[in-house]
């Protein structure tokens, strides 16, 4: 349903997307996982015809995003990362406007609006101006506006950023429902948990490169039985010297840093743990907590890049 071939996008000297190629099958949820600045939004912008690629090509269904943008736009729905709504229109009016833009009208449009508002849990707030909505409610309406016309392909660009757990749960559950109804979904996120929960397949992006792609099980095989030991320190400590020491320990594959934590990818966490704690004490770093995590997509990212996902 989606075919991307050698896609590259440069902004001046910055290469935002670098020779990207992947395919998404019909009815699939495909996640692009990567930290901020990895090129996820740029990729979606190209696929949704908002940006032209510097080179390469992409197709949605049978249509080229560069040569047949109007045909592509009729097939797709986009839920942008930002809240792209008119704040001084009500929730209902926003959906009415966006539905009209996709060619819906009359009773069909009204039915879809009522149905979609119900699905995202905003029926009771439909008459209020969007300006008065909470962040989570705006996110849900943002989602509703992107899928009101029931597109065959839905692009979701980090739709859960900055919202409360309840709204996040509602959005994730709704995405699963849409997929069960047959919608093909391309989902971008830097939340590993969301990619794991939703996706049939995952592509991991870093600095514009697709560094891994496949089903979760296939990706996890790349890290084998490795565990991740997460060391959390008291605030404002310099972990750089310790990081270098830990990397030299036997059994340590990678060490990544995230905020005030170090993530140590190791072959056997039970054997490595006492050594790690001892090195921390030697460096007079006070540990706040130690956690052992079994292999997941973040482990894959750590192994492939040497950095934590949210670096």
């Amino acid at each position: 349903m989606i075919r991307v071939q050698n896609l590259t996008k440069c902004f001046g000297s910055l290469v935002a997307v670098d020779n990207l190629s992947f395919e998404v099958n019909e009815g699939e949820i495909f996640s692009l996982l990567g930290p901020n600045g990895a090129g996820k939004t740029t990729t979606i912008s190209i696929l949704s015809t908002l940006l032209l690629p510097s080179s390469g090509e992409a197709w949605i269904g049978a249509y080229s995003v560069t040569r047949q943008p109007l045909e592509v736009r009729r097939l797709i729905g986009v839920v942008p990362q930002e809240i792209a709504l008119y704040q001084d229109l009500s929730g209902y009016e926003n959906l009415w406007f966006w539905g009209q833009m996709y060619g819906l009208s009359g009773a069909e449009l009204r039915r879809r609006i009522v149905e979609t508002l119900e699905q995202v849990g905003l029926s009771e707030k439909a008459g209020q101006k969007v300006r008065t909505y909470s962040g989570g409610m705006k996110r849900r309406l943002n989602l509703a506006a992107g899928l009101l016309h029931r597109p065959r392909v839905l692009f979701l660009d980090e739709p859960t950023v900055g919202i409360d757990p309840q709204s996040r749960r509602a959005i994730l559950d709704f995405i699963k429902v849409l997929n069960r109804e047959g919608m093909t979904i391309l989902y971008t996120t830097h939340y590993m948990e969301e990619a794991q929960e939703l996706s049939h397949r995952v592509g991991i992006l870093d600095y514009g490169h697709l560094i891994a792609i496949g089903k979760q099980a296939e990706l996890l095989q790349q890290v084998g039985e490795h565990d991740t030991v997460v060391l959390s320190f008291e605030d404002e400590v310099d972990t750089a010297p310790l990081l270098e020491v830990l990397q030299r320990l036997p059994g340590v594959v990678q060490v990544g840093r995230e905020d005030q934590s170090l993530k140590v990818l190791a072959t056997t966490s039970e054997q490595i743990l006492p050594l790690v704690v001892a090195r921390c004490l030697e460096h007079q770093l006070r540990l706040r907590s130690v956690e052992i995590i079994e292999p997941n997509l973040e482990t894959v990212f750590l192994k492939l890049t040497g950095r934590a996902l949210r670096d």
Binding site: T41, L50, V78
Partner: protein
């Protein structure tokens, strides 16, 4: 077409839901006009100074030399009209016309020989103080077409004077005839009594009335009022029309900032449809603003704007030209803030240049010609002509100028916006 109209409708709704915007585009100009009208003494005060044109250069030729001719000269040279008029008195009517032709004067007032006699015939003349009217002798107002505002004011003063003279003549005839019929005076006393009555009625007791009242227009039975508000109200309306146009165009960049433009760009419509829809939204908001302001001032200030169709077409054309400027600014700016700054500056400069604050006719020819780049100046010309009793056919020149201005600017802005990558970059 449907998406275009929907975008325009959406923009209209958003503009008129914005209370601050509503205050600026409708209530603001209305209150400003009201305030300036109060300062100008429009609402009954007699001590306020006029905010309209001042020191209008007018040349007066008094060939009559009798009571009424002298009375008119006295009126035009009166201290009450000192700020408004700058009269020059000469004796050569050809020279007076030449000065007008050379744009040295806004108008020439030529009082012909026998003007007083045509109103108050002497006792020996046929039909004197009888029911046979004497032959008509008209005052000639030789007008400079490049100074329609000033001409309208001079004309209003003349018509006010003539209205009083006419009133005096009719009352004089009636009174004198009645006195003669009842034997109260002898027929030979009729001329003296009649002249005294006529002169007293022709005397002006409130100079503000001279500006307010214009006498009956030839061939029409309805009185046309031209007053200080007639110059102020369109000036303010056109000033704030520029604000509306630039504010509306600003929404193009504001939409980009709030990501709704990007969302629009990925719906199955073309960028051209989006730009046209937004342009129509701005245009309609300008038209509605003008209609509201003109309607309200007509109802509340009892202003006469003139020919309905002329006013309507002028509003449509002036709004088109203003939108052209608004779109051009939006195409040149990169942020909504830049549009706001440039728009405010443009609004004030165009207001000054276009005659919203001062009468352009008192400025140098260079400034006058510079003012032609503004929709305000052409709009003011059109409104002045209509308020002075002109018809749609008489404002073709300003209408064409506004249409060409709007078309040209919109085309340039559209070309710039189509090439503007920053507008569309995610």
């Amino acid at each position: 077409m449907r998406p275009i109209l929907l975008i325009a409708l959406k923009d209209l709704i958003l503009i008129f839901r914005d209370r601050a915007m509503l205050l600026m585009i409708v209530i603001g100009p209305f209150l400003l006009t009201l305030g300036m009208g109060l300062v100008g003494g429009r609402f009954g005060g007699s001590g306020g100074s006029s905010s309209g044109p001042t020191d209008i250069p007018v040349v007066v030729v008094n060939q009559d030399g009798e009571e009424l001719g002298n009375a008119l000269v006295k009126v035009l040279d009166s201290p009450e009209l000192d700020d408004l008029l700058a009269p020059t008195f000469i004796s050569d009517p050809d020279m007076a016309k030449q000065w007008v032709n050379e744009d040295q004067m806004a108008a020439a007032v030529i009082i012909p020989p026998g003007f007083t006699r045509s109103v108050f015939p002497s006792a020996g003349e046929a039909g004197a103080w009888g029911l046979v009217p004497s032959s008509e002798v008209s005052i000639l107002l030789y007008a400079n077409p490049q100074r329609p505002n000033s001409v309208a004011i001079v004309e209003s003063i003349l018509r006010a004077f003539l209205f009083r003279v006419e009133k005096g003549r009719i009352l004089g005839w009636t009174t004198v005839a009645s006195l003669v019929l009842h034997g109260e005076i002898q027929p030979e006393q009729a001329e003296v009594v009649g002249r005294a009555l006529g002169e007293s009625l022709a005397r002006v007791d409130n100079p503000q009335d001279l500006i307010r009242v214009v006498a009956l227009e030839a061939g029409k039975s309805e009185a046309t009022r031209v007053d200080i508000m007639t110059a102020l109200a369109p000036g303010m309306a056109l000033l704030f029309l520029m604000f509306t146009a630039t504010y509306g165009a600003r929404s193009l960049l504001a939409e980009r900032r709030q990501q709704t433009l990007q969302r629009l760009m990925i719906t199955p419509i073309t960028p051209a449809q989006i730009l046209i829809g937004k342009g129509i939204g701005v245009y309609l908001s300008g038209v509605i603003q003008q209609v509201l302001l003109i309607g309200a001032s007509t109802l509340l200030f009892t202003l006469r704007w003139g020919d309905f169709w002329g006013v309507l077409v002028l509003i449509l054309c002036a709004s088109f030209a203003a939108v052209g400027w608004g779109l051009l600014i939006a195409a040149l700016a990169r942020t909504p803030g830049q549009v706001a700054s440039m728009g405010s500056a443009l609004m004030l400069v165009f207001g000054l240049l276009g005659g919203s604050f001062v009468d352009l006719q008192n400025l140098s020819p260079a400034i006058y010609w510079l003012s032609r780049i503004t929709p305000n100046a052409w709009g003011m010309d059109g409104f002045s002509i209509l308020a002075g009793g002109g018809s749609l056919a008489q404002i073709i020149r300003p209408l064409l100028a506004l249409i060409f201005m709007g078309g040209g600017l919109t085309a340039v802005a559209g070309w710039l916006l189509a090439r503007s990558r920053h507008l569309l970059q995610a």
